[in-house]
């Protein structure tokens, strides 16, 4: 049987920029896979994880689109389709928007993150979505990832020119028994504005290690939502770095855990420059025997005066066997800042439920309404038509979750 390492070596030999990629591969080999002794991985079920059991996909599959992917695509101005990380098609045409598949490089970033290093070594290419300066994109851009099987390393870069505006939805599904390791970078030039929603609907058998980093220029605005449903283990790290003053970042991350899933969310709001504002809202619900952890870091450099950074985390427990942890961290090297964090963990509010019941709503329906409601505000970055599609889908998923009141 082919191992991961064998398939990776074959893949590397076939790539053009093999040298840079081998640098990433060697860095990975030196670093090795993390263990749960490592603080940032202590909640991951790495004992069950066997990297060598996954092999890189060698043939290009052409799977059909899922109905949900189809529905999202129909409501977009431009559909960028990736299959197992390979750019497969670009449908539609939007003035000022370009899509390319470029050879991935490795700049020495991510040198302490094993999975990102693997992505840098093994991503088929970097799919770049570029919005030209001063362009306000007329319709949403939808990126659809379909994962078939094996080990998959998609790499995406969204790049907004000065004073441009765009709305992007990044959707992923499939991935039965797969290892999915996406790496994304978002570059927002001066005064640009991006609304970005990631909807992760992988199979619940998949291992998912996702990382994204946003770089915000002067006065740039990013509103981002990350919604995760699938994955046996779902790790989602989302960073924002303010490179110049005046930027704004609003990040919402959310998940629904069921069965024995583990959702492991990490965020980092990194303020290098002053007069920048970041607001982070993390909300998740855990049912059955699922677990979640949210770890958030606010980092403010010396000199980043008048920074405003906030972090809020709310977790809903839908079963007495589910568990949620919340770990806020602050590293502040400047005094003239405003910083706040808050978190809560608990079951559905009994009095809110009673209020609905006292109007004549049955208990089960009241609980469904409240759980749906818990998630609705997390869909705020989705453009109208697409929000309806996601809301309906989320409603169906929530309808299947078993709620056990303590």
């Amino acid at each position: 049987m082919t191992t991961f390492t064998d398939s990776a070596q074959l893949h590397l030999d076939a790539l053009a920029s093999a040298d840079a990629r081998r640098g990433a591969w060697d860095a990975f080999a030196t670093l090795g896979l993390p263990t749960t002794a490592d603080e940032v991985w202590r909640y991951a079920p790495l004992g069950e994880f066997d990297l060598e059991s996954f092999t890189l996909v060698s043939s290009r599959a052409t799977p059909t689109l899922s109905p949900l992917a189809q529905a999202l695509g129909e409501r977009a101005g431009l559909v960028v389709r990736l299959v197992d990380g390979y750019l497969s098609s670009v449908e539609g045409d939007l003035a000022g928007v370009g899509v390319d598949s470029v050879e991935s490089g490795w700049s020495g970033n991510y040198d302490s993150d094993a999975f990102s290093l693997l992505n840098c070594a093994l991503a088929p290419a970097t799919v770049v979505v570029r919005v030209a300066e001063n362009v306000s994109v007329a319709a949403p851009i939808v990126i659809v990832h379909t994962v078939t099987s094996g080990a998959v390393f998609p790499q995406v870069r969204i790049s907004l020119g000065r004073s441009s505006r765009a709305s992007v939805v990044d959707y992923v599904d499939g991935g039965r028994d797969a290892l999915v390791v996406p790496l994304s970078e978002y570059e927002l030039a001066e005064n640009s504005s991006l609304e970005l929603s990631t909807y992760q609907r992988l199979d619940t058998s998949a291992w998912h290690f996702a990382r994204s980093t946003a770089y915000l220029g002067r006065d740039a605005r990013l509103r981002q939502s990350v919604i995760s449903i699938g994955g046996h283990y779902n790790r989602s790290r989302n960073d924002a770095e303010f490179l110049a003053p005046g930027g704004e970042n609003e990040l919402r991350t959310t998940f629904l855990g069921s069965q024995d899933q583990v959702h492991d969310f990490r965020t980092r709001q990194f303020h290098h420059a002053g007069r920048t504002r970041s607001t982070l809202l993390s909300k998740g619900a855990v049912a059955d025997h699922s677990r979640s952890v949210y770890t958030g870091l606010i980092e403010i450099d010396k000199g980043a005066k008048r920074t405003d950074a906030r972090q809020t985390n709310h977790n809903l427990l839908l079963s007495p066997h589910a568990h949620a942890d919340s770990v806020p961290n602050l590293e502040i090297r400047e005094n003239d800042v405003m910083c706040a964090h808050a978190s809560s963990v608990g079951p559905l509010d009994e009095l809110q439920r009673w209020y609905l019941e006292s109007r004549g709503v049955a208990r089960d329906d009241a609980e469904r309404l409240m759980i749906q409601g818990f998630f609705y505000e997390m869909l705020a970055t989705l453009p109208g038509d697409l929000a309806d599609v996601v809301e309906r889908d989320l409603g169906e998923v929530l309808g299947q979750v078993r709620i056990v009141t303590p």
């Binding site: 009095l351 209020y355 109007r359 049955a362 009241a366």
Partner: protein
């Protein structure tokens, strides 16, 4: 024609006896007003009837047309025609009024249209109907919004807990007018709990009940309110039993 009858109701709150043998009977289309000093058990009555989890009924009976409500869940009580408007209507983030009303059994047919019409009648900005239940609403808007709920659900009996607290004159007028019309439109019985007489200018009571130490100590017509206004609650005070 329906009858609500409360008899010998005993209710505890946090282990303390609050209602101690409360009796009241009323019929469709009537307006009954419960008045009494703080701590006399007025709000306890409303919450216990609606099945609030913090209130333990020890003894007694509450029936609508012979059906014992105390054996029923809060949902079933509402579906048997009981509606409670709260002193502080609760915020339920993420739940839209329309979805709540549909789940409560309201017909979906032109539901938003009917809600808008009801909002107009109580001078509630229609945008409020799109917001999550009571979230970011002023005290007055919350009570007007509950009148919209009431008008869509059309209960047999509506209990209004401290209906006038936190309301300005305009809001109170709008709410009281809507209740008066409800008593005619579908013969809604109104059981209003209040501290003040102000409400009675808009809503003529059939009966006034004075509550002290957990039970009704005096019952009479509108003239009773005048006596309360003049003499206060002191003449009605009874020792706790």
């Amino acid at each position: 024609m329906s009858v609500l009858s409360i008899s010998n109701l005993h209710v505890d709150v946090a282990g303390k006896q609050v209602l101690k043998g409360f009796d009241l009977t009323m019929s469709s289309g009537e307006v009954h007003v419960i008045m009494g000093p703080n701590g006399s058990g007025k709000s306890t009555l409303a919450h216990a009837l609606a099945g609030h989890p913090g209130y333990q009924v020890r003894e007694g009976s509450v029936r609508i047309d012979g059906v014992e409500l105390l054996d029923l869940s809060p949902t079933e009580r509402a579906r048997h025609g009981l509606f409670l408007a709260l002193q502080h209507p609760m915020e339920v983030p993420g739940v839209r009024p329309l979805d709540m009303l549909a789940a409560a059994g309201a017909s979906r047919e032109d539901l938003m249209g009917r809600m808008r019409e009801e909002a107009r009648r109580v001078e509630l900005r229609p945008e409020v109907l799109e917001r999550f239940l009571n979230v970011d609403l002023s005290g007055g808007e919350r009570k007007r919004a509950e009148m919209v709920q009431l008008s869509i659900l059309r209960p047999k009996f509506a209990m209004l807990d401290e209906i006038d607290s936190g309301l300005d004159v305009d809001a109170l007028g709008a709410v009281a007018r809507r209740l008066r019309e409800a008593t005619e439109e579908w013969e809604c019985g109104v059981l209003a709990i209040t501290h003040f007489r102000r409400l009675l200018h808009e809503l003529t009571p059939t009966m006034i009940h004075v509550v002290s130490a957990g039970r009704v100590v005096a019952t009479g017509g509108p003239e009773l309110a005048e006596r309360l206004e003049r003499d206060g609650y002191e003449p009605f005070r009874v020792e706790s039993r």
